[in-house]
Symmetry: D2
Subunit: 158 residues, 4 copies
């Protein structure tokens, strides 16, 4: 069984909707998808997943403190996530408002865990991004992203 954990922080519901769209895309790839708020996500949840996809609203250009806490706590399992697949998604209030640097702050943490990260040539390059409430474009990008991550997770789990 290949599992994908999608863990997110959402105050306004925007990042949550992105998480659900990624889950929708990943379903049907053969992955077992677990959707969880970041506050309820434990380090053991991370350890139990083949793919870890983390979403955050943009707070001052990087992942929110509540998201960072989980990653900081995960240091006690440092090295155990090596070779797993990772992904990132972010919502922000405006264009040029820090969503790309938020994605990168997550991607950097995943790479430091020794994880594998996948880019996208056609959709949001570092991961899907929504400006305010996810519009049709953002929702579609999330679904595509979830599908691709699911397929790669299955391949990597072999």
């Amino acid at each position: 069984m290949t599992t994908m954990l999608i863990s997110y922080l959402s105050k306004s519901g925007h990042t949550k909707k992105m998480a659900e769209s990624i889950a929708k895309g990943a379903n049907g790839t053969g992955c077992t998808v677990i959707l969880k708020e970041i506050q309820k996500t434990t380090v053991d949840d991370l350890k139990g997943a083949n793919a870890i996809v983390i979403g955050s609203p943009t707070y001052y250009g990087s992942m929110a403190c509540d998201v960072k806490r989980l990653l900081d706590d995960s240091v006690r399992e440092h090295g155990k996530l090596s070779g797993r697949l990772g992904g990132a998604f972010a919502s922000s209030g405006m264009i040029g408002g820090g969503n790309e640097t938020t994605l990168l702050s997550i991607i950097e943490a995943l790479l430091i865990h020794g994880m594998i990260v996948m880019g996208n040539a056609d959709i949001g390059h570092y991961g899907p991004v929504a400006i305010g409430a996810p519009d049709e474009r953002a929702v579609k990008e999330c679904e595509t992203y979830g599908k691709r991550l699911g397929e790669l997770a299955i391949r990597l789990a072999k």
Copy 2:
């Protein structure tokens, strides 16, 4: 006399329009504004300016090669630009398409020159960004950015 050099690369005209809007904003602040294509900009031009504002389209997530060449060449004057004011602007094809990381690639180069960089609390945080052709929002942000940079350049030149 306080001078602001706005140097840009533009294939489609989008980044050029941004440059002109920044120039419009800076005019009236007391700065002498020089608008120049990056291919015609020399290291001496950089050396002669109190404020240096660099614009690039987004090519693979960072400033275009033609923009980077000028910065790489500027190493022969390394240290001479310390304390000057710097700024960045970028156009890109899509949201989440690398414009923020393009801005940061420019900002990083300016900081390495020992320059001073100004953020924005209300408009494009790291500098103005356009998605495709600059729309009214982008044009307005460029004008605001130019005005603020001009005012700060005047203050720093005292």
Copy 3:
């Protein structure tokens, strides 16, 4: 009176030593220096300072959660810090271990607040960095950085 707040997180004492060295450099520039642990730093402390210098150990490639919390909380004063001077410093466990991206995560937050950030042509470009316990090089860079920040804060306060 021009004040510089140096706020830091330190578990091992390394980042604290860096903070003290920056303070040492800033003393004598005419700035009143306030040295404070991040856990004791309030948003009002940020609001009361002309220059804000933030230090963090490198946790997964960006500032530690405890540092991010203060910045996330500062959103209630968003816009009020515009035009202030900002700076960053970081310690890390190893070379290539994420200290530069930690500095940038702080710098990005400062820019989003509309603050002004100063680079360095000769010492740690985005701010001082220590690998493990600050050695002589790191201590010296911190002192130089503090001195330059203090001088610029004085100039900007005029």
Copy 4:
């Protein structure tokens, strides 16, 4: 046959030595390793490789202009590199001198191509880094990095 292209720019020989050490690590994994200077590397070379590893000295915080040129030129094959494995390595003159942001500038370009990037939990997190001439630590990290990339390239090629 799984091929790994290691393409690098080197003026002082430091980045070249890193490239050779990565090649040494990749040999024996079953990959056919191609070592090439960036000036001699063509877009077709990129297209022909299962894994693409790019090395650059640190010039103003991002990859050198000569490295960026190859990536900018590769736009004519945009999308064709999706799913390939990518990697980055960098040399720099000093600690805190921009080597991590150089790695990230390369990684960002690879992600925008839709490529897959692998982090490291124990060695240089975003890729190996040398300060000046590669010392024993740097050489060893390069070898380890090459070995891991080779093994993952083989797995992904299946």
